[in-house]
Amino acid sequence: MIDTILITGATLPGGSQSDILVAGGVIRELGSIAAPAGSRRIDAAGLVALPGLVDLHTHLREPGFEQSETVLTGSQAAAAGGFTSIFAMANTLPVADTAGVVEQVLSLGQQAGYATVRPIGAVTRGLLGEQLSEIGAMAHSRAAVRVFSDDGKCVHDSLLMRRALEYVSSFDGVIAQHAQDPRLTEAAQMNEGSLSSELGLKGWPAVAEESIIARDVLLAEHVGARLHICHLSTAGSVEVIRWAKARGIRVTAEATPHHLLLTEDLVRSYDARYKVNPPLRRDEDVLALRAAIADGTIDIIATDHAPHPSESKECEWDSAAFGMVGLESALSVVQTALVDTNLVGWNDVARLLSATPAAIGGLIGAGAIRAGAAADITLHDPSTSSVFDVTDLAGKSVNSPYLGRQLSGSVRYTLHNGYLTLDDGLVVPAEVVAASARAGSQMEMGE
């Protein structure tokens, strides 16, 4: 196994060129470096080196829905997309509401070795919105859970939300709220507007999201807690967050790649690949989200990677499942929506997709390319433009809204803890990655 990798001629997020020497799982040196004997050399001329991407919002489906995704296949999708850390949402079966489940997911992630898998704990038991789950036990477990979310469902009970915010602040945890008023969105199918009325699909009003966010930022202010809002999708939500931040409320906000690129017009096809929660919105919402990313109102981009088996999508719209896979396409979509449009630079991408999500999730040591840091590095080629294809997907499910769509850039290499998980665009085989991961953890113990 090659332990030492020299990346030559990479463009760092700030724009400067540098070689990067990786050995023993960490970044040893930056600058102009001569190749050490026996090292693997990666020619990164023309490639952007980003700190390994961190996804605060991934659905890995295991345990319980292994026909859609497993921790292994989901982390392979992560590697294909340049992610080295992923936060696994709690809506599994059983729900990740106990220390046992989160430790299981943690172990599966470590065995797979493609990425750091950090479980997210459920806020309420069984995601039922009635009683708090074993938040403390999960926080103090081997998985050291710091992010709690009922994602897929909204913590809609105001008192429960208040208690959850207060409770997790005892160990600097954070509640990631899926903002969706349940009564206003009963049987809802797509963004509410003249298009939903024309298509005869039940509307999902923007206010169902905005009203929950408004309530929650006020609750967070009241109890002095930290709050994270998942997948903002409307211009109104942006306004509420902007207002909250101006007041000094400790809120962070996330947007998904798909809400930055796609609009409700796609629903005209009734193709359920475009069915997602929250729904695709209008052009003006997409533009507002992009502007909010550019001005810092929105802190991070997270994929909300949500795999589903084909039968859940190849059906009538009403019966189809919500969600789209997003890990493999995320960076290309971000480049297409934000970089190519000159709204952000690669430095911002590194912040939005690595440093800040790592900070929100309590992931220590991640998010920067510097000597001494763990060697989590993504090498991205921004010069390409190609039609996104099913062969670009590495997870178990193919419910991508981008199939057949032209996207910019492609991830060429992903290094996690100093070993390759994506090598020249190909996902490194599972047994090779697992062996690298084992070797790395033994070395860690030896030191």
Binding site: G193, L199, E316
Partner: protein, 317 residues
Amino acid sequence: MRHLLSTKNLSRDEAILLLDIAEDMSDTQLREVKKLPTLRGKTVVNLFFEDSTRTRVSFEAAAKRLSADVINFSAKGSSVSKGESLKDTAQTLAAIGADGVIIRHAASGAPQRLAESRWIDAGILNAGDGTHEHPTQALLDAFTMRRRIHGDASRGKDLDGISVAIVGDITHSRVARSNLWLLRTLGAHVTFVAPATLIPFGAAEWPATISYDLDQTLSEGRPDVVMLLRIQAERMDAAFFPNEREYSRWWGLDDERFAAMRSDSIVMHPGPMNRGLEISSTAADSAQSTVLEQVTNGVSVRMAALYMLLAGEREGA
């Protein structure tokens, strides 16, 4: 025409052609021998995921009068209700050799999904999907209006300048939507009349006048056509309106309102009617009412639609 999924994409010429062919079909329905050999050897499937005997029988009569073989595939009590997917059902029908599929489905867009999937190659005819569209109902309504207005000289005519008030649960009505798009294409002016809860969200962006006041619409607009929609009792439970009495008081075509209407105006209802709720018996049974004509015309219009879809050379095949 490959499929008939909505009226939104019908051009004026296509719509008039379809109505004209329906006139010719209608003539044949006055003869002793009503059956035409046109679709001999073609197989038409009535794929009904929702119960609607009226619509199914109308399509069945239309297909049979064109000599098609008709298979009724009712989803209730079949494998479909036991979880078989739309895709599997479609592939089964393809394997049977269906040339045309008439689909009624509670999910909006299910017919379009069938038409645009590769599951089945048949011509797809939307017989009502969710709260989306019901194109043959709109076509038979337009046909009925045109006949009442132009009589024997209907062929080739549109509905330019005709004013139509559609009253009732617009929000949940596929009939209202299909009528709006078609009537606009044919040059008519449409007013939706309902309480705000039953006007679709965002309908202000549609090419219709919105009214919350039936009396005002009747007295000021003096519409040529008043079309009442069926009110479903379950809407009350979801807080769309307080109760039946209040609904019929403000939005029902009662005797008093009917008496105040122009004597040459037309009263329409797609059926089945709630007499005494959205329409009074006096209005429903009057000479101005076209309720039964609509049923008769339904067969002719559906014959025309089936002819357009299934008789000619297969487009894009």
